[in-house]
């Protein structure tokens, strides 16, 4: 692990040097399934002089990769909206966007505003929205009919049959379930630490009830489908996929509100193909292309009527999950101030190390 990051840095620099000559390669750093082959082929057909290279990653690794190189090695990246402000302040890994080159008019206002509000630093905008989704709960309604809030994962009637991912989402969800507003507490880090401690106590208490912490969509799906667990914290897209296989398994927005993320587009500080990057951003705003994208990602495009552009089966899963009230109640992830990740990380380690059950 130790030498991994620096070796990666060396490797990235090497790729950077190697591709420096041909500005017409678009190096995309994004989530798995966020760059379906059909879409890349279509894009390369439309712009024959641009070649798309894709690297799949997640929020934390995207930032780690860009931090290792000071923002080089990629031309376009897609972190979530809450992961832009603090990393930019700390590591300066993004470059300001030229909104005149982006078809912002096609984006849904609520998501565009949320992203602009969260990612504007010194008057410069660093991100625009792409797709959005939520984190919440999922339950097999035939086995666990009463799941409605985060705290139900710790309900003893489901002892040994629930799961969660030991990441920040469950900290925030548990804080909401305790009647607190963790995003409001960001303003006072001491208060937030106090809240985290109480959340940690709650989750350590809950440990005995948990079968295992899931690591990724695959093991979560396997546990849920096999009936080894009946309820879990989840990404909505995972729940939608399972709904297609077993309609008893539904996504449940917690009563305190599903936590909403928006994956964005950002241009890394040392990106070398800005024009191509803007072309890709506008390209995937085309309704036809959104259909292809959403079919692949299972997430909803941040455009007016984005839900309508989902494929049939996903749309059914979404409407089975969300009422209008739930939509009203969505909680957007708030910007993570510098230092909070470290506090949360330490809390998570404390929970993992505790021998609660």
């Amino acid at each position: 692990m130790k030498s991994h990051a620096l070796a990666a840095a060396v490797a990235l620099t090497a790729t950077g040097l190697a591709t420096a000559g041909s500005a017409e390669t678009l190096r995309l750093l994004t989530w798995g399934s966020y760059a379906p082959d059909a879409l890349i082929e279509k894009f390369e057909e439309m712009y024959p002089d641009i070649e798309v290279e894709v690297t799949y990653s997640n929020n934390e690794e995207m930032i780690a990769k860009l931090r290792a190189t000071g923002g080089a090695g990629f031309d376009l990246a897609q972190p979530s909206h809450d992961r832009i402000y603090a990393p930019q302040i700390e590591y300066e890994i993004y470059k300001p966007l030229d909104l005149t080159k982006i078809n912002t008019g096609a984006m849904s206002k609520v998501h565009l505003d949320a992203v602009l509000e969260n990612t504007t630093i010194d008057g410069e905008v660093y991100a625009v929205p792409h797709q959005w989704g939520t984190s919440g709960l999922m339950a097999n309604t035939s086995l666990a009919p009463d799941v409605s809030g985060w705290g139900d994962l710790c309900d003893s009637q489901y002892a040994g049959k629930t799961s969660m991912r030991l990441r920040r989402t469950i900290l925030l969800g548990t804080a909401f379930a305790m009647g607190e507003d963790p995003f409001a507490a960001y303003a006072d880090l001491d208060a937030y630490q106090d809240l985290l401690d109480r959340v940690a106590d709650e989750l350590i208490e809950c440990k005995a009830n948990i079968k295992a912490y899931w690591q990724g969509g695959d093991d979560l799906s396997a546990m849920m489908l096999s009936g080894e667990i009946v309820a879990s914290e989840t990404w909505d897209s995972t729940a939608y996929k399972l709904y297609n296989e077993n309609p008893d398994i539904v996504f449940i927005p917690p009563e305190t509100g599903a936590l909403t993320w928006i994956d964005t587009f950002v241009i890394p500080a040392k990106g070398q193909a800005d024009d191509a990057a803007y072309k890709w951003i506008n390209f995937v705003l085309d309704p036809e292309n959104i259909k292809i994208m959403s079919a692949s990602t299972g997430a909803i495009a941040a455009v007016p009527g984005g839900t309508e552009l989902l494929p049939e089966d996903k749309r059914a899963a979404v409407s089975a999950a969300f009422s209008d009230e739930d939509i009203e109640n969505l909680k957007f992830f708030a910007n993570i101030p510098p230092g909070v990740e470290d506090m949360e990380g330490k809390t998570l380690e404390k929970i993992k190390a505790a021998t609660g059950g």
């Binding site: 620096l6 295992a212 990740e341």
Partner: protein
Amino acid sequence: MSRDARRLSLILLFAPFALWILLLIALPHLGILALSMREKVAPRVYEFGFGNYAEFITEPIYWNTLLRTGSMSLLVTFLALIIGFPIAYYIAKIAGKRARGALFLMCLIPLWVSDLIRAFGWILLLRESGVISRSLQWMGLTQSGIEFLYNDAAVIVGLVYTVILFMIVPLVSTLDGMGDDMIEAGYNLGGNSLTVLRRIIVPYAMPGIVAGCIVVFMMTAGSYLTPILLGGKNSSWFTEQIYNQFISRFNWEGGAAFGVLLLLFTSGVVWIGLRLSGQSLANTVARS
């Protein structure tokens, strides 16, 4: 002229090795060391200091995890030795030429697939709705499914399975060098099976045993995926904390300090092992 040419070719021959050592081993470690001594005081502001190490010492979670990782790695090493020694002995001294190849191949199989696939293989076997649990249910030995996964035993089984080849190879190569007459002499001079094993075979194989143990211990202590995927709610592994420091917490400085500590810790354990067994690096790892 020809001497210069010879020197040049020598330099060229050694250049890749030297570059490899310098760029991929020495520099990253120095970088990590330097990084670990940077204390973060504010965004983009760092100072030299040992705060990251102090953090490790003052937080029991961290050093408990390191001790836990170390002791479990020792257990894995011990099990790999206990299981690997008879296999190596069979391959080196008893099996025929063809069986030998087949046996080596069988030990190699775990390495044909990636860490991840291997872990998923174990998950399929051990999980509550997995092969073993289902078989037990089918045989009527248990009513409800049994969860074999998500505990320390699963982690140990998975790790032993992964590393056993690295124990067997050095053992086979040292045992290979031991003539059958050595063992026969052991019996001829009056030793029983236990004496021959204890006084002759094991001491003879000691360089291989120590080499295998060092490699296996290092690999185990530094493994990541197997403990994460097979481990349970409480199964912290030190590499996981390093990953968390680097990736989730954006705390490269802390992660670097942890990395240095893991290296020091494993080196220390290896040093103690060498002292206790009276071996040196030169005649164990460097030999085979």
